[in-house]
């Protein structure tokens, strides 16, 4: 995954900050645009799954890169 429209680095932050900042960042996107999020809180994996389920935004991918968690979320159209 490399295509994204906006990036959010939430490294070092604990829940709910990554989710809260993602919510704001997604609100600023156009429909169907993609946000890349980088986080270090291990709980963020579950949190972003729950977040997408509840908001209807699509979790395109969720993975680990060099000890950090990387998520790609596509804003619901």
């Amino acid at each position: 995954m490399s295509d994204f429209d906006s990036e959010l680095d939430a490294s070092g932050l604990n829940c709910p900050l990554p989710i809260l900042r993602a919510k704001k960042a997604i609100a600023a996107l156009e429909n169907a645009q993609t946000l890349k999020i980088i986080a270090t809180d291990p709980g963020s994996v579950k949190d972003f799954e729950a977040f997408c389920k509840q908001t209807g935004n699509e979790l395109l991918s969720s993975g680990e890169e060099e000890g950090k968690f990387v998520f790609f979320i596509k804003k619901a159209a």
Partner: protein
């Protein structure tokens, strides 16, 4: 042995009894023999599930960590303003202790046990609040406020101290006058006082006033 349990059922019973005993007496205050007696099995059977007391303790902690409170609902369903999110988080946090006061007991025990994994786990639970408060104040507080850094740090401490003390008085000293106080009302009021102390007046009236109006 009284009843025959399947492997996973037996493991779960051991974990629940161990959680209760560790919460009551701390890591060093409980022996494998005592846990075995509480589950009505021989230590040999217990060792089939867990190699050591430390491994059992870690598993108890792991189980508590899996039930870790989620603030996703709070963020998705409330406004994104500082006071609404903090109110929602506090409610979720207090409810988690209300559902399982062992969380609070094990936290208190771990402060003295000096078990690094445990203290890390509980530090992280509070870190959600201190991070959130420090981050929020960092964004909103003018840069020329005197002693800005220490003020922000103190706000986090103040909040943690306030909530932790309320939980201690409610769940560890049940003869106390907080017994009949509703935790949701108390948490609402604590958050309101905290916000006022850091210069944020809650925009709407207190919940009581809203209900009666």
């Amino acid at each position: 042995m009284s009843t025959r349990l399947s492997g996973p059922e037996r493991r779960q019973t051991i974990l629940s009894q161990a959680q209760r005993l560790f919460a009551e007496k701390g890591f060093h205050g409980v022996s494998i023999d005592e846990i075995s007696r509480a589950v009505s099995v021989s230590p040999a059977i217990l060792y089939r599930h867990f190699d050591s007391k430390q491994e059992l303790y870690d598993a108890v902690l792991q189980q508590l960590a899996c039930q870790r409170e989620s603030y996703v609902d709070t963020v998705v369903n409330s406004g994104t303003n500082f006071e609404d999110v903090l109110t929602g988080m506090t409610h979720v946090f207090i409810s988690s202790v209300d559902e399982n006061p062992n969380l609070l007991r094990i936290e208190m025990q771990s402060l003295l046990d000096g078990n690094p994994a445990t203290s890390e786990f509980f530090k992280n639970r509070w870190k959600s609040f201190t991070d959130y408060i420090e981050f929020g104040l960092n964004q909103s507080m003018p840069y020329d406020v005197p002693n800005r850094e220490i003020t922000i740090l103190s706000a986090g401490l103040m909040f943690q101290g306030m909530v932790r003390e309320a939980l201690l008085q409610k769940y560890l000293q049940p003869e106390d006058r907080l017994v009949d106080v509703s935790m949701s009302e108390l948490s609402h009021e604590l958050v309101r006082l905290f916000l006022r102390a850091i210069g944020i007046e809650k925009s709407r009236l207190s919940r009581k006033a809203v209900i009666s109006s």
